[in-house]
Each structure stands twice: as structure tokens, then as C-alpha cells.
């Protein structure tokens, strides 16, 4: 039985840890498919975490926190669009600016409002999202295999976990099966052709960025109002970049990006599990080195040893309308 509970706990942590990555990767797909580089996923996730925690604390309702997080992330996406779509500024510089700005601002405001440690107050159970037990989970537990999968693996997650995996088929459907998605992909591949067809390239990119803002807000809220009960300094810890790497590794496609996110989640779950464990022949690996595994994996995946990734062809280039 210990083996089974090990599998259950590893699977559960993989699903939970992958959740913010999945939201962020889906958000990245929208921005980058429309031709706008988005390294600012990291900053937006952090902003959402901060705003969601503060909003839930003041209004006593995590949904209001989530709503405020969505508003703040969409605003940041619009700022990115204003700089890089409207004013044709450098997209990477704009992202780096947003990331540094948010790292500073969230911690500075948390310290100014809630004391020097830079933590937001711990949320009570009413102020945060709790694990959801699926219906009949207890009753079905005794059924072999199905009961185990349903009650011990599928049941008992935060709402964001379910939403994240639900978002993947939806994003796939929107991007690849609707005319809106076709237009998003077209402005990322060949904006001048889209312009000739009478579609406004700028509006399309702003729309894609707005969806990007909504999706990434969920990732931040998951961190500060579900998994943790407060915001702390730099709590996104590079997840925005990991998600971006997963998206690139997944070739800007929701399904493959999901697999890459799960791979990251699994490695992270495994590294937490390995901390302090004595391994045969190697002995105990120092905890600092184990913690670096997801970052090393990112570099390895980006190195493209499993096939070269091809970005949307107009990515990173501001669209300049001919006169």
C-alpha cells in the first residue's frame, strides 16, 4: 500500500505544481501566436499573486481577489501592448521592465502596507480557495483501481487545478478551430497579409494579449490564495520562465505544451521528494543542487535536443503599416 500512496502523492503534487505552469503556458501561446513575445509572464504571475492575496484579505472573498488579479494582469498586458504594439518598442525590453517593476512594486507595497517582512496577512479559510472533494469520493474509494484513481488522484484538488487542465482543450479549440484563432495565428505569421484582408493587426494583438492577461491571473491566484495562504516576496520563483520554456518546447501548441508542463511539474515533485533521501551508490544529494534540477531541465529542453522549435514567423517584430 505504501507504493500506491507514493504514486498518489507524487501524481497529486505533479498535478498541483504543474497548474500555474499550464495557465502561464496557455497565456504565452495566445501572446506569442499573435506575434508578441511575452517574457513578462513571470511578472504578471507575481502581480496576480499579490493582488489576489490583498483583494481576498480586504474583501474576505477569494473570488473578488481573483477578479482583481485578472484586472491587474490584463492592465499589464495592455501596457506591454501599448509599448510594443502601439509604440513599436522592443518587446523583450518591455517584458524585462514589467518583470523588474513588479518584483519591486509587489514587495515594496507589501512591506509598506503589512510590515517590513513583505508578507501579506495569512488568509483564513473563508478568504482562500480550498481543496474540492469530488462527489461520492468517499463512497467510491473501496472500488479497486477506479476508486483509487477517482478518490485519491482526481478528487481533492484546488479549483485552479481543474480549471488549468480544462483550459488546455479550450485554448486548443479557440486557437485552432475558430476563425478568431485563425486570425490570431495569421497576425503572428504574416501580419501584412492579414492587414490586406481588412483585419486590424493591432486590435487582434491587443485581443490576444487581453486573453493572455486573464489566463495568467489564474496562475498567480493559485499560488497566493490556494496553495499558499499569503503572498511573499518573489513567490513566482521563475515559474513564468519555466512555462515559457515549456511552451517553446511544446512548439507553441497547447497539447505538447501541457506535456512539457507536466514534465516540469513531475521533476519538481520528484526533487521535493528526493530532498534528504539517501540514494543507492550516490548517497544524499545536497538540497541546493536538487532544487536546481527544474532550472537545469529548462535549459536542456530549450537546447532543443528533442527537435528544433520554430517560432511564429512574425514574432518579436512590431507591425508597421505601409502607407
Amino acid at each position: 500500500m505504501e507504493f500506491l500512496s507514493d504514486i498518489a502523492s507524487l501524481t497529486n503534487s505533479t498535478l498541483r505544481i504543474s497548474t500555474p505552469l499550464v495557465f502561464a503556458a496557455m497565456a504565452g501561446i495566445f501572446a506569442e501566436r499573435s506575434g508578441v513575445i511575452d517574457f513578462s509572464l513571470e511578472g504578471k504571475m507575481l502581480m496576480a499573486a499579490f493582488v489576489a492575496a490583498v483583494g481576498s484579505y480586504y474583501f474576505g472573498n477569494p473570488w473578488i481577489g481573483l477578479l482583481m488579479a485578472i484586472v491587474s494582469c490584463v492592465s499589464l498586458s495592455m501596457l506591454h501592448g501599448f509599448a510594443s504594439v502601439t509604440h513599436k518598442g522592443d518587446q523583450v525590453v518591455s517584458c524585462v521592465a514589467i518583470n523588474i517593476l513588479i518584483i519591486g512594486l509587489t514587495t515594496a507595497l507589501a512591506a509598506a502596507w503589512f510590515g517590513q517582512a513583505g508578507l501579506t496577512p495569512t488568509l483564513t479559510n473563508d478568504q482562500r480557495f480550498l481543496e474540492i472533494t469530488l462527489p461520492f469520493a468517499d463512497a467510491l474509494r473501496e472500488i479497486p483501481i477506479i476508486g483509487f484513481i477517482y478518490s485519491d488522484i482526481l478528487s481533492g484538488h484546488y479549483i485552479f487545478v481543474y480549471l488549468a487542465y480544462l483550459s488546455v482543450p479550450i485554448v486548443y479549440w479557440v486557437v485552432f478551430k475558430t476563425s478568431f484563432g485563425l486570425r490570431v495565428r495569421a497576425v503572428g505569421e504574416n501580419p501584412s497579409a492579414v492587414d490586406t484582408a481588412g483585419i486590424n493587426v493591432f486590435t487582434m494583438r491587443y485581443k490576444a494579449l487581453a486573453i493572455n492577461g486573464v489566463l495568467i491571473a489564474f496562475a498567480g491566484a493559485h499560488l497566493s490564495t490556494a496553495v499558499n495562504a499569503n503572498f511573499f516576496r518573489e513567490m513566482s520563483a521563475g515559474r513564468g520562465y519555466l512555462a515559457l520554456a515549456a511552451m517553446i518546447f511544446g512548439k507553441w501548441h497547447p497539447k505538447t505544451a501541457l506535456i512539457a508542463c507536466l514534465l516540469f511539474g513531475f521533476t519538481d515533485a520528484l526533487q521535493i521528494r528526493l530532498q534528504g533521501v539517501e540514494l543507492p551508490t550516490i548517497g544524499t544529494i545536497p538540497v541546493q543542487l536538487i532544487q536546481a534540477i527544474p532550472y537545469v531541465l529548462t535549459v536542456v529542453l530549450l537546447a532543443g535536443f528533442v527537435g528544433k522549435a520554430v517560432a511564429p514567423s512574425a514574432i518579436g517584430q512590431p507591425y508597421i503599416k505601409e502607407r
Binding site: 518598442g89 524585462v96 521592465a97 518583470n99 517593476l101 519591486g104 512594486l105 512591506a111 541546493q288 530549450l302
Partner: protein, 372 residues
Amino acid sequence: MSTAVDKSKVPWWVSNLIVPLVNLTLALLVSALFIFIAGENPYQAIKLIIYGSFGYLEGFAYTLYYTTNFIFTGLAFAVAFHCRLFNIGGEGQAYIGGLGVFLVAINVSFLPVPIIWLLSIAGAFIFGAAWAFIPAYLQAKRGSHVVITTIMFNFIASSLMVYLLVDVIRDMKQMGPHTVALPKEMWLPSFKDFAALFGIKIRYSPLNLSFLLAIVASFFVWFLVWKTKWGYEMRAVGHNTQAAIYAGISPYKNIIIAMLISGGLAGLLSINEILGVHHKIVSGFPAGYGFTGIAVALMGRNHPIGIFPAAFLFGILYQGGSEVTFDMPNITRYMFVAVQGVIILFSGALENLFRPQIESFFVNRLNKEVEA
């Protein structure tokens, strides 16, 4: 949309002085708003910043000490940027550079001191460059974006250094994660030592000989980027890779060399921090200077002549900022990280916000003068 102006008619001081100053002013106005939101008076904060950075000799020395760090990291970002590479891994490269300084200095302690310094500088440069090599290689050969790989290398450097400081090179007699101190004769002479030579007694400040090294590095970068064949090739790759390939310039070679020099310059930060100030490796000594380098380089338009005043401005913000954090309980040093972000936004991403208007304003005025 404003009307486009003939770029050749725009005087150099409009595009290189007026526009950056307008952008900086906008950034500082937004920053003042943040200070207001945090519940403090922005006007008082500015007065404290000016006093803290200029008001007394030690304060001014601190300002120049921070300036030294920002010159190194600003130059590091700028060199890579001329090749259109975003090396945001200055933080990790400086951290590993520190390892180079320490290992070299501790192993050649039998040599005369000035030679130890030169070897340590080489150690800092080589270790910093080595840490930039893998991201550089992956960018050149596999197209893996350096922004992500260098950020990942920051995280990896941090883990690696904490591991080394806790388990391998820690001063085993002490509890904290730091190494043993280097022998006193290896320490770079500080500003206080110089003042003592002239019989002037001043209080401690971390300003040291590295400031001169930063000036030398600025000349080095200027010469390398604008006066050598390699600098020309590198800028050609950055400007238009396809055209550079047609001209027979190898983008791979230039990307890798640009990143190595960039990483090496970031590594030099540790000369100031380790040979000049801490005299040992302390956990987390790059303290965000690597990221500030991005703002410094973008504000200084990636030219050493611009980077110097930009680094000085950030020196004022850091030193004056620490004065603010003493006096204003609601302001922490992270407020000044946010200020950096705003400055990058306005002088980098939004640099064209008012440029057309400002340029056409001055061009029209000059035209009128010519007609009159």
C-alpha cells in the same frame, strides 16, 4: 500619429539628451506616484535622496561605490545588446566571477600583491565569461533564447554558490554561509586609505580602487565595440544578421564572443565586492546589481559615455535610497527596484513615446530660424 521628420535633420543633442531626459522625468514622476501610494511624501523622499548621496563625504563615496558596480553590469549588458542579445544573466555571471576571484587570490597568495590583483581580475573575467558560455552556445547553435537560459543560469548559479558556501568552501569556524577572509594585504586600497595618505581622516566607506578599473573597462568597451574590426562585425550581426552573413561575417562566432565579453564584464563586479569590500565570498553578494545593469545600459543608450552618468544616477538612487529607507518606515529597498523597472520601461520600451513630437518640434524651430 505625428508627422515623420527627416532623421538627418535632428540635432544630436535632441535625440541623445533631450529625449532621454524627458523619458527619465516621466519615469521619476511615476516613481513619485509609487512612493505616494506607499504612504510617504515623494518630495521629502527626493530631499533625503539628495542629502544621502551628496550631503556628506562618506555618502558621496558610497554613491561612487554603487556607481562602480553599475558601470560593470551596465557595460556587460550593453556589449551583448550591440549584438542584439539580452544578457540578463549578469547576476549569475557576477556571482560565479566572485568564485573566480576568491579561488585565484587564495591559491596565488605567494605572489606579489599587484600581480595577485591582475590575476584575480583575470579570474573574475574568465569565470564570469565561462558562466555565459553555455547560454551563448545554445543561442548561437540552437536558437535557445538567451533571456530564458541566462535567467535559468542565474537560478543555477545561486543554487550552486549556496551549495559551495554551505558545504565546500565555507569558513568552517563560522556559522554563516561565507568563506574565510582573504589576507589583509590583498585587499584593494579603499578611498579611506587614500585619504589617509594625504593626512585626511574620514570614516569608512566601501569605495575602493575598483572605481578606476570601471573607468578602464569603459575605455576598453568603447575601443572594442567602436574601434576594432570585431566590434564592427558584432554590431553588423546585431543590426542585420542576414546582411552580415552575406558580408561573410559569422553570426555564431560573434554571438559567442559578445556573450563571453559580456559575462566577463559582469564578473568584474566581484572585484569591487570581494577584493574591495567584503574580502570573502558572502552569500548573495551580487544583490541585484546585475539586473540594475539593464536599466543603466538602456538609459545610457548602450554607450560607455552614456553608461557613466546613468550608473552615477543609479548610484544616487541606491545610496540616497538607503537614506530614505532609514527615515521612512514604509519604504524598503524594493521600492527602488520598482523605480528601475519604471526607468527601463520609459527609457527602453517606451523610448519612442514622445520622440516624434520632440524631434519635429526642434526640427521645425530650427527650420524657422533658417528661414528667418
